[in-house]
C-alpha cells in the first residue's frame, strides 16, 4: 500500500526541481512554469493529506490554489507582454537594474555559439534560359 510518505516525497521532489528551475533559468516563461511546478508539488501534498485524514479540507484548499494560479498566470502574462515590448527580449537579465543595490551585475562572459549557417540556395530567375556550354548537343526544334 502506498503510504502518505510516498506521496509527500514525490511532492517534495517536484517542489525542489521547480525551485532549481526558478533560480537558474533566464527565460521569463520557463521561470513561470517552474513556479507553477512548485504549486503542483504543494497541491499533491494537500490532496494526499486529505485522503489520509478522511476529509475534503485539503481538496478545498487545492481549489483555491487553482484559482490563484489562474490569476497569477493572467497577471504574469500581462507583465511578460509589457516587458517584451520594452526590452524586445524574454531574458530576465535585461532588467537587472531593478535588482537590489550592491549585487554585482550579471555579465555574460562566454559567447553564444554562432547560429547554424543555412545553406544559401541560389535559384535561377524564372524565364531566363541558362547559359549553355559550346559542346552540348542542342535539340533544335
Amino acid at each position: 500500500m502506498i503510504t502518505l510518505g510516498h506521496y509527500l516525497a514525490v511532492a517534495a521532489a517536484l517542489f525542489g526541481m521547480g525551485l532549481v528551475g526558478f533560480l537558474t533559468r533566464r527565460n521569463l516563461i520557463t521561470m513561470f512554469l517552474c513556479a507553477e511546478m512548485m504549486l503542483q508539488g504543494v497541491a499533491i501534498n494537500l490532496v494526499a493529506f486529505a485522503r489520509f485524514h478522511g476529509n475534503l479540507e485539503g481538496q478545498a484548499f487545492v481549489v483555491f490554489i487553482l484559482a490563484v494560479a489562474a490569476c497569477e498566470a493572467a497577471v504574469a502574462l500581462a507583465l511578460f507582454t509589457m516587458l517584451y515590448r520594452r526590452g524586445k527580449s524574454l531574458d530576465v537579465s535585461v532588467w537587472q537594474s531593478l535588482r537590489e543595490l550592491g549585487v554585482p551585475p550579471t555579465v555574460d562572459t562566454e559567447p553564444l555559439p554562432p547560429p547554424p549557417a543555412e545553406e544559401r540556395v541560389v535559384l535561377p530567375p524564372a524565364g531566363v534560359r541558362p547559359p549553355r556550354s559550346g559542346d552540348e548537343e542542342v535539340a533544335r526544334v
Binding site: 500500500m1 502506498i2 503510504t3 510518505g5 510516498h6 506521496y7 516525497a9 514525490v10 517534495a12 521532489a13 517536484l14 517542489f15 525542489g16 526541481m17 521547480g18 532549481v20 533560480l23 537558474t24 533559468r25 533566464r26 527565460n27 516563461i29 520557463t30 512554469l33 507553477e36 511546478m37 503542483q40 497541491a43 499533491i44 490532496v47 486529505a50 485522503r51 489520509f52 485524514h53 478522511g54 475534503l56 481538496q59 478545498a60 487545492v62 481549489v63 494560479a69 489562474a70 490569476c71 497569477e72 493572467a74 497577471v75 502574462l77 500581462a78 507583465l79 507582454t81 527580449s89 524574454l90 531574458d91 537579465s93 550579471t106 562566454e110 553564444l112 555559439p113 554562432p114 547560429p115
Partner: protein, 392 residues
Amino acid sequence: MPQLSLTPFELSVGRIALAAALAAIGFYFLLPRPSGRRIGPGIAVLIAAAAVFAAWLVGAFGRPMPDLVGTTLFGLFATAAVGFGAVLVTQRNPARGAIAFAFVILSTCGLFLLLAATLLMAATIIVYAGAIIVTFLFALMLSQTAGPADENDRSREPLLGSLAGFGFTGLVLLTLYLNHLAAMPVGEATAPAEARQPVRLPVAVLTSGERQALSEAVSRLDALIGRLGVESLPPDAIEPLVSDAEAVRDKIAVVVGSDEFSRPGSIRERLEKLGTRPGEPSVTLVRSDEQARRVLSRTETVRRLNQQAQDALQNHLLEGKPDRVSVAARFRELRDETLLLAGMADLPARNVSNLGYLLYTQHLLAVELAGILLLIATIGAIAITHRKGVTS
C-alpha cells in the same frame, strides 16, 4: 564481502544525501550553457539519483504491501511527473519545456485520481494544461527567436542554484523521514542492521476485513459526532444515540480489543500468536517489522480512546459533565486514530457535491475572497498591457 553495518537511520540519511548530491550534479550538467552541456553523463547521473531516491522511499516507508495495480500506477505517475519535471527545467527550447510541463500536469492529475480527487483532476487538466499552458505557448511562439539566444542558452549560477535547490529538498526529505521515525519506539532505529531480519511477516499486518470494519466504524463515528453536535437533544433521541455509540464501540473492540472485557482483539491475536507454536517465526520477527510495530502501538491507542469516549458519554448522560462539546471532541479523537489505524480513508464517491457543500458552508469567506482576487487580477492584467494613446 564485508557488509557495512550501518544503522537504518544512517542508511536513510546517507541515501537522501546521495540522491540530493547526484541530482544537483546531474542538473548542473544538463542546465543550458553556451559552451555546450554534457547531456549523456547528465542523464545518467539523474537516473542514478532517481534510483537512489526510489531505494530510500522503499526503505524508509516500508515495502508497499501487495496492491499491484495501485503500486504500479503510483510508480508510473510519480516517475512521469519527476521525469518530465526534469525535462522542463533543463530543456533549452522553452516550447518543448512547456509541452513537458503539460505532461507533468497530466501525471499530477493521475496522482490526484489515485487519491480520490476526481473534480481536482478534471479541473487541473482543464485550467492548467488547457488554459495556462496553451496561453503561454502562444505567447512563446509569438516572441521566439530562432537560433541561440541569451535567455534560452544561459543559466544563472547552475552549480550554486542546483546545490541550493537540492540541499533544500534533501532537508525536506530528511524532516519527513525524522517525523516518520518519531512514530517508532526509541532505540529501534539505531539498532545495528544484523539484528533485524529482513524477512517478511508470514501474516498480514491488517487484513482487508479488519480495515473495512474500521472504515465503517469511522463513518458511523462521523454520523455520531454530527448528532452530538446538535444544539439541543430531545429526550427520545438519547436512547438511539447511546445504542449507536455502544454498537460502534463493539465494532471497534472486535478489531482492537477491549481492556474492560479483557479481549485481545483480532489484530493482537494474529500478530502476537506468532512464536508461540513451534516451527513458526519468533516473536522478535514481529517486533522487527516496523509496520507491525506501528500497528500494534496504534491499536493500543485506539483501545484506550474507545474506552475514554464511552466513559465520557456515560458520565455526560448520568452526571451532566463533561459537557457535550468535550464528549464530541473525545469521539473525534477516537475517529481520527481509528482512521490512521485503518491506513487510508474512504472519501465520499460524490466528490463534487461534497466539495461544493464544504466550500460553501465552511469556506464561504475564502470563496468570496478568491472571486475578488480573480476580478482584481483581470483588471490588473488589462491595466498593465494598456498602451497610452492607442485606441482599442
